[in-house]
């Protein structure tokens, strides 16, 4: 435009000085335009890690290709990728393909969608540029953190003959029950030769079978409630990691890790969507399986709780129910578990301090809901369910105390 204006002014005013004044500009533009051969066709690709540990190291690989004749690549990084507060990166297009590795924000766990990346290529001092090309990023599953909880041993299952727990059932195990005289039918390898030599009669070692212990963690994923009671109207809004579901997921991961470390079998049941659970299992891979599942949970109030399948909870398993206990739907479930299973632990994950509404009518309604909830938890405690808040330091103490009371009873 400047050239046209200057040419017009030169002609109109008859002043060659105008043309001379824009001479550097004209030469510079001519050099810039002459330098570029071909037309860049940028292609953008973003490779995200499929999963990452919370607060761990994770990197995304961004590739831009088709940069022939390009000079400058302007990249718009997705939110949460790369340095904070600097989403734009400008690179020299000195080769047809450019790759760069950028850090991924892993400060929050869960399914993280970082949005899209964009790229624009320019040449000739920015006189020419391509349209913005966009590449969407795949969501990254950031696993919830694991806190070590000092938990007591679980009671062994009544079935099975392998595991790390002692039972009182006689059989082929490692725990010595007594030493008695040899009877027909006893295995020869059970003979205790030292005792037999001392007594002069054959004696055999009589042992109890070993068994494993199962823990099933039931997670109520229907609600994600914040400390602000007024926000409870919107059941579908996720409160993030500070809400009740965030606490429940963190608690589930920590309990699973603690019991898997003891060698127990741990499973997970999603009360809103039972088929989304994890079958009981042991080992490090099982912990990864559970954390993988937990990271993918999002609250969905549209999902109605289906009939709870008791078959998914092995007989003799200890059960932990993590819920905000805000409605009565959970009552029959926990009641049934309390009848059929010996150890049921109800963990209340509602935030400790609640912000009550200012309006009198709403305040009365909120108090009513909370009073019903308190009654519900008290009724569960009367049924023999251990009811507690999520406190990693307290859970172990309460469970041990209950085990002592049971033994003394």
């Amino acid at each position: 435009m400047l050239f046209v204006v200057s040419a017009g002014m030169t002609l109109v005013f008859g002043r060659p000085a105008i043309a001379l004044m824009v001479l550097p500009l004209a030469v510079g533009t001519a050099l810039a335009v002459a330098g570029g051969q071909g037309e860049p066709r940028p292609r953008l690709r973003v490779e995200m890690p499929s999963m990452a540990e919370v607060d761990g190291q994770a990197a995304a690989l961004i590739s831009v290709s088709g940069l022939e004749a390009a000079e400058i690549v302007v990249l718009r990084l997705p939110y949460g990728i790369g340095p904070p507060r600097a989403p734009y990166v400008v690179l020299a297009a000195d080769s047809p393909d450019q790759q760069l590795t950028v850090t991924v924000d892993t400060s929050r766990w869960g399914m993280r969608d970082f949005g899209a990346a964009g790229a624009r290529v320019a040449m000739a001092d920015g006189l020419f540029s391509t349209p913005v090309v966009i590449a969407h990023t795949a969501p990254v599953r950031i696993l919830p953190p694991v806190r070590t909880v000092d938990v007591p041993e679980l009671p062994a299952r009544s079935a099975g003959q392998v595991g790390a727990h002692r039972t009182r059932r006689p059989g082929d195990g490692s725990e010595l029950l007594d030493v008695r005289e040899f009877r027909p039918g006893d295995r020869v390898r059970r003979i205790d030769w030292r005792v037999s030599a001392r007594r002069g009669v054959l004696h055999v070692r009589h042992t109890a079978i070993d068994a494993d212990a199962d823990l099933v963690i039931c997670l109520d994923t229907r609600y994600d409630l914040t400390s602000d009671v007024m926000s409870w109207h919107d059941r579908s809004s996720g409160a993030g990691q500070s809400g009740s579901l965030g606490v429940a997921i963190g608690a589930a991961a920590s309990l699973a890790a603690s019991y898997l470390r003891l060698g127990d079998r741990v499973g997970l049941v999603d009360l809103a969507v039972p088929f989304r659970g994890v079958q009981p299992g042991t080992g490090v891979r099982q912990l990864m399986r559970i954390r993988w599942h937990l990271a993918g949970i999002v609250p969905d109030a549209q999902l109605r709780r289906r009939t709870f399948d008791e078959g998914s909870v092995p007989r003799g398993a200890a059960v932990v129910v993590l819920s905000s206990y805000i409605d009565g739907q959970i009552d029959p479930l926990v009641g049934t578990l309390a009848r059929t299973h010996r150890d049921v632990l109800a963990i209340d994950v509602l935030p400790d301090t609640l912000t009550m509404p200012a309006d009198r009518a709403e305040l009365a309604a909120a108090r009513l809901v909370l009073a019903e909830r308190a009654d519900r938890l008290a009724a569960l405690a009367r049924r023999g369910v251990l009811v507690t808040r999520w406190d990693p330091g307290l859970i172990g103490l309460l469970m041990r105390r209950r085990q002592r009371l049971r033994r003394s009873a």
Partner: protein
């Protein structure tokens, strides 16, 4: 790991500051070169114009600043002087910087190497045109 990992980095804001300074210098050189005595209000107006150019490099503001500078210099009718050469060089600088600032967002971190071709071309152009303009300034009335 985060780009640009190594080398010098220029931010988009730095480029806008440079563009603002360049356009302020261009207008001031045109006013002074044309022989006007710059009134304080004129200085303020030039500063405002420079800020507008720096803030909106993708708008017609940089081109308008260049046209105004040309008009101011020619209105003074000073012929081919040193000021003429200075204004011509600044005109080219503002034009190049505005083109880059239009592409590079304010919050961007740019590799210095990405700006190198533009810088190289600017130097080449100045190396060719400044002697021509100086010779013309000496030869022409």
């Amino acid at each position: 790991m985060n780009p640009p990992a190594g080398g010098r980095v220029v931010s988009g804001r730095d480029m806008r500051v440079l563009l603002g300074l360049g356009s302020a210098g261009l207008l001031l050189a045109a006013v002074v070169g044309a022989g006007y005595r710059p009134h304080p209000l004129v200085i303020v107006a030039l500063a405002v114009a420079a800020v507008v150019v720096a803030a909106f490099p993708a708008s017609p503001a940089p081109a308008a600043a260049c046209v105004i500078a040309v008009f101011l210099l020619l209105a003074g009718d000073i012929g081919f002087t040193v000021w003429f050469v200075v204004v011509a060089a600044l005109l080219h600088s503002v034009h190049a910087l505005a083109g880059l600032a239009e592409i590079i967002p304010a919050g961007a971190r740019a590799e210095a190497a990405a700006l190198a071709p533009t810088g190289r071309r600017w130097l080449q152009t100045q190396a060719v045109t400044v002697p021509i303009l100086i010779v013309l300034a000496a030869v022409l009335p």
